[in-house]
Structures are given as C-alpha cells and as structure tokens.
C-alpha cells in the first residue's frame, strides 16, 4: 500500500484548564519518519493519541491522506501503534499476539499463519513464536509489539517512547532496527521520544514540542545547528547561550548559541573571521572521548567547552583559575530568536 501523508490542522485539546495541544498544525509527508521530541507534558503523546483516536480534540482537523479522520473511531483508522509498555496480550502466545490483527480481519487461516511468521521473522523472533509473553525479556517483548504492529500493513505507524524501558545498548540496537524496518516498509511513521539523541539518530525530521505547541520542525542537522529558540537550543544538547556582544563585539545585540563542541583552544587552522571569548577555568573533567572545560567569563556567564581528545593536547595541564581563550568559527555562532 502506498504511504500516506498526515495532516494536523490547528488541533486543540484542553484537559480542564490545562491546554495540552495549543492549535497544533503539522504536515508529515508520505513515507516520512518524523519524531515528536519534547519534555514530558509537552503534548507529544496527546498529539499521537489524537491521531490514533484515543484523545478527542476540542477543535481542528486531522487528515490521513485525503481522508478526514477527526471523528473516525480508533478501530477504523488502520493505524499501527507500538506502546512504551508494549501492551501485549498476556493471555496469548507470541504467535497469538501477532496473528490477532489478522484474525480480526478474518483472513484465511493459512494466510494468517504465513503473514504472522513473516512478521516474526522480520524481527528475528520466529524461534520464540510459541512462547508465552511472560517468558520473554523486555527487548523481545518490544519486538513482538513491532511485529504485531506491522503484520497488518497499517497506513501509518505510531511509536510512543517504544525504547525507553530498555537498557542503553539494546536501545541503540533497536533504534537502528526500527529505522531499518521503516526504510524497508516505507510506512509513514510518527515516533515520540524525550531523548534528543534518539530523535537525532532516527528521524527524517524532528518536531520539537513544548507547552502544547510545536516550536520547530526541521531535519536533525538543522534543529541541532540552527535552533529557532533558546528552548530548542538547550533541549537539543549542550548549548552555550551568550549575549551576542560577548563574542561578536559591543555592537551586536540579542543572544547567540554556540555548541560546546564548536570551541577550539587554538586559533590555528580556523578561518580569519573566527571569534573568541576569554575566561578563567572553573572546572574540567575527562570524559574519554573529550575533555569538558567550564570557563567563567568576566561578565559572569559560564561557557562549556567540549574539546575532542584528538585536539585536547595540554588540557590535562591547565590549572583551575588559569586564563583560557576559546575560539569558534563565525559559522558556529547562531543567533537565536526572541522566544
């Protein structure tokens, strides 16, 4: 089935006096992998549940392809969901769980069996098909949930923090696997997470949410390097937000953002238009792949520098209180919007 685009048009939802979705508009292209990223309470899960039909919006429209699904019952939407807690049926085996959506569709028995086994094979769980759910590990359960969501080839796939209950190594392996699954199947996917690294790794585009609204939608690179607001800049990773004057001279106004890893200790090799700040070393920490230095500027602001091990010669010798000059290319200094 050809992938379909998703359109949210000024979707609003209030729970009592709390505005969970504040006129959210978002267009997801057919076949795209889009991540809703934001802190808890930012509205990302509410937006996902509105698309799935479990949260009824107060206003606005939601369209799947050409179809307005705003008032459609959840079971008529043809959407696959993977939940954070897996939401598997504990009274069925692995096979029973994956066959369930096909049984609802009253497919012939041999087709049910064949398609369920193909889906289980895709997530490398065919060997465990006849196990009880209780006998599986967290990672295996997550794979069953994936197989169950793809087996009926839904038009759209929604994932609500599917990896947050897994340990770090497994999480990274599953990120890769989910992305590969998406690329194989081409299903339009909305993925919800509060983990910015996960969002950066997996997504075609990221929509950063805060306070019930979308603050920025763009590619991972653009979101990371050109955040639209202070909130986005800080949420996406270690960001130094400084008065523009500190780096660009007294004439500059507003704030700028410089990623901690954009700083260099030496100006050699940097373009002629590189800028610099000078401060006293407050703290330093060795973090295997880099050194983390914290400077205090004369104006009182702190600046975090992340110096990669490859150009960190001398870092170990700098004493606290020493005067340090940090250089950054002009292109790594990003002016921020007002918000």
């Amino acid at each position: 089935m050809a992938p379909v685009p998703i359109n949210f048009d000024r979707v609003r939802k209030a729970f009592g006096s709390y505005l969970a979705l504040d006129d959210v508009s978002l267009a997801v292209s057919a076949g795209e992998f889009l991540t809703l990223l934001g802190p808890s309470g930012s509205g990302k899960t509410t937006l996902l549940m509105a698309l799935a039909g479990f949260v009824r919006p107060d206003a606005g429209r939601i369209r799947l392809g050409e179809t307005d699904i705003t008032r459609l019952a959840p079971d008529k939407r043809d959407i696959g969901i993977v939940f954070q807690n897996y939401a598997l049926f504990p009274h069925m085996t692995v096979r029973g769980n994956v066959e369930y959506p096909l049984r609802l569709r009253k497919r012939p028995a041999d087709e049910i069996r064949r398609r369920a086994e193909a889906a289980l094979d895709r997530v490398q769980l065919l060997d465990l098909a006849d196990r009880d759910i209780a006998a599986l590990s967290g990672g295996q359960r997550q794979r069953v949930a994936l197989a169950r969501a793809i087996v009926y080839e839904p038009r759209v796939m929604l994932m609500d923090e599917p990896l947050s209950a897994l340990d770090k190594n497994l999480r990274e392996a599953m990120q890769y696997e989910i992305r590969r699954l998406h690329d194989d199947l081409g299903i339009t996917t909305i993925y919800v997470t509060h983990d910015q690294r996960e969002a950066l790794t997996m997504s075609d585009r990221i929509a950063v949410m805060d306070g019930g609204g979308i603050r920025q939608v763009d590619t991972p690179q653009a979101i990371y390097h050109h955040p639209a607001t202070r909130f986005v800049a800080e949420f996406m990773g270690e960001a130094n937000i400084l008065p523009a004057a500190a780096l660009l001279g007294p004439a500059a106004v507003g704030s700028v953002m410089v990623r901690s890893e954009s700083f260099h200790l030496a100006a050699d090799g940097l373009p002629a238009d590189a800028v610099s700040v000078e401060g006293r070393l407050k703290a330093k920490a060795f973090r295997s792949e880099n050194w983390l230095l914290t400077l205090v500027l004369p104006s009182g602001e702190s600046v975090a520098l992340s110096i990669p091990a490859t150009r960190a010669a001398g870092c170990a010798e700098i004493a606290p209180g020493a005067l340090v000059t940090a250089h950054a290319t002009a292109t790594s200094v990003h002016p921020l919007g007002a918000a």
Binding site: N85, H91, D132, R148
Partner: protein, 292 residues
C-alpha cells in the same frame, strides 16, 4: 585463588527463623478456622451416624436419603443458586465493566452506592422486597397502572421472589472481584486492540473477558457457594413453598429435634463446596503458569 567458603550454618538458621516467623503469622487465623469450621464439620459428620440416645447407627442416613423431600430440597437449592449465579453474571459483568471504564473518582462513588445495601440487615431488605413484590405491592400496582399487566403477577412466595432477593444480596459481592480484575487490565492493551481494528464488542470478547476470567470465577464461586446455604431469603420470600436445604435443616431441628437427620442434610452441601474448592485448585494449576 582463594577457596570457596563453606555455607555458613548461622545464615541458614536465620533464613529458617525468618520462614518460621512468617508462617507463625497465619496461626491465629488457622486456630479460628480450626475451631469454627473444621471442628463443627467433624461434629456434624459424627452426629449424622448417631441416634438420639447417642448410639452409632445408619438410620439417619437411610431415613433422610429415602425421603423425597430431601431430593426435592436439594434440587431447589441448586436451582436457586444456579439461577442467582446466571443472573448475577448477566447483570454484574456489564456493571463491573462500566465501573472499570469510568474514572477512578466516579467509580469509587458508584462503588459506595453498590455496597450501600450490604450495610443494611438482610432481614430488613428481605421484608422490603416483600412489600415491593406482593400482590398489592408497589411493583404490581405500577405494572397495572401503566397497563402492562391486567392481573397482579406472582412475584413472591415462589422461586421468582426468592431469586430476586438472592440476586439483590449477591450482586455487589459478585461485582467486586470482577471489577477489580477489569480495573487491573492495562488501558494500553485495550487501545492496542482497538488500533488493530477490534470493535468494542470484539475487544470485550477477545481481551477483556479472558483477562478478567479470574475475577469472574472468584465472583461466581462466592455467589454459588454463599447462596447454597441461604436461609432468610427463601424463608421470607418463599412463603413456605420454596424450600432449599437450609430450610429443611431448620425444620428438621426446629420441628423434630432430629439432630442426626439435620446433620445428614448438611453433608451434601459440604461435599459440593469441597468439590468446587478442589475444582478451583485444579483450574488454578492448569491456568496458573501463563499468569505467573
């Protein structure tokens, strides 16, 4: 490499001590059950083999088992319990589902109303039903006034009346465990079912009822076993025409001072309850591992 240490007997003693302590917590309850249930049951069994003079005899058994009254009252007992159970399941399961589907706050409020009748004496409630159900009672008056029936319906002094009273008493006790089981079902599991295309009816049939079956079983056992021994409800609402085993036992003692005969009458109920208990334990063993 240092050699492995021998197991420390002091640690093993500590573990045993801990186990004994937790077992000892059940002793008071075991003592009460022993005194109040096991001993009387043994006494009933002994009594059933004795005549009034205290000699061992089979006369009680032959007399009671040869009486058609015994068999008809046994039949009445099971019909009443069975009907009550069926109606409780039919009324109580949807009610429990409704309670489990609403917000916790509202469910708690509704539960108070559900449990309110249990705070009233069963005698008061049973006589209340008598007032409502008799020929000139409220129910018949209302039915005739709105023209649904020409003649008063026989709603009391028969099986109908007794079953109404029993259902009224047992319904909350059935709903509670079913509600608890349904409340335990993860909402995301139901959302997952719906997202895969399950209608509400299909979700109830394929997910909710299978996951709530433990609660439904508990509730059913409570209703069936509890109603086997019901006395006041059939005595008041049956008007002498509906006589389950509890009423026969009372008459055998109250009317004839026949303790031996009454003891024999008690034994079939004991056996049935014991069989139900054994069946439940068996079921648990079969169904157990999946839910472990």
């Amino acid at each position: 490499m240092t050699p492995a240490l021998d197991a420390d007997p002091a640690l093993a003693r500590d573990a045993a001590h801990e186990r004994r302590f937790f077992l000892s917590l059940s002793l008071p309850a075991l003592a009460v059950v022993g005194l109040a249930a096991i001993l009387p049951i043994l006494w009933i069994l002994r009594q059933s083999f004795m005549n009034l003079g205290g000699e061992v005899t089979l006369a009680n058994w032959t007399k009671i088992l040869n009486s058609s009254l015994t068999w008809s009252s046994l039949q009445t007992t099971f019909v009443l319990s069975g009907l009550t159970l069926v109606i409780c399941i039919a009324l109580g399961t949807p009610l429990a589902l409704a309670l489990a589907s609403t917000t916790q706050r509202r469910a708690n409020l509704l539960l108070i109303f559900l449990l309110l009748p249990l705070w009233t004496s069963i005698l008061v409630r049973t006589y209340g039903w008598l007032v409502l159900l008799r020929r000139e009672g409220l129910v018949n008056a209302a039915l005739q006034n709105i023209g649904l029936t020409a003649e008063p319906l026989p709603l009391v002094y028969n099986t109908t009346g007794v079953v109404i009273g029993m259902v009224h008493y047992m319904l909350p006790l059935y709903v509670l465990p079913v509600y608890a089981a349904m409340r335990d079902i993860d909402g995301n599991v139901l959302r997952a079912a719906a997202s895969m295309g399950a209608s509400l009816g299909q979700a109830i049939r394929t997910v909710i009822l299978p996951l709530a079956q433990g609660g439904i079983l508990s509730g059913s056992i409570i209703v069936f076993v509890y109603t086997l021994g019901f006395f006041i409800t059939p005595a008041v609402l049956g008007g002498g025409k509906v006589n389950p085993i509890a009423i026969r036992i009372e008459r055998t003692i109250g009317g004839f001072q026949d303790w031996g005969g009454a003891s024999v009458l008690g034994v079939p109920l004991l056996v049935v309850v014991a069989l139900i208990g054994a069946a439940v334990l068996g079921l648990r063993r079969v169904a157990g591992p999946r839910h472990a």
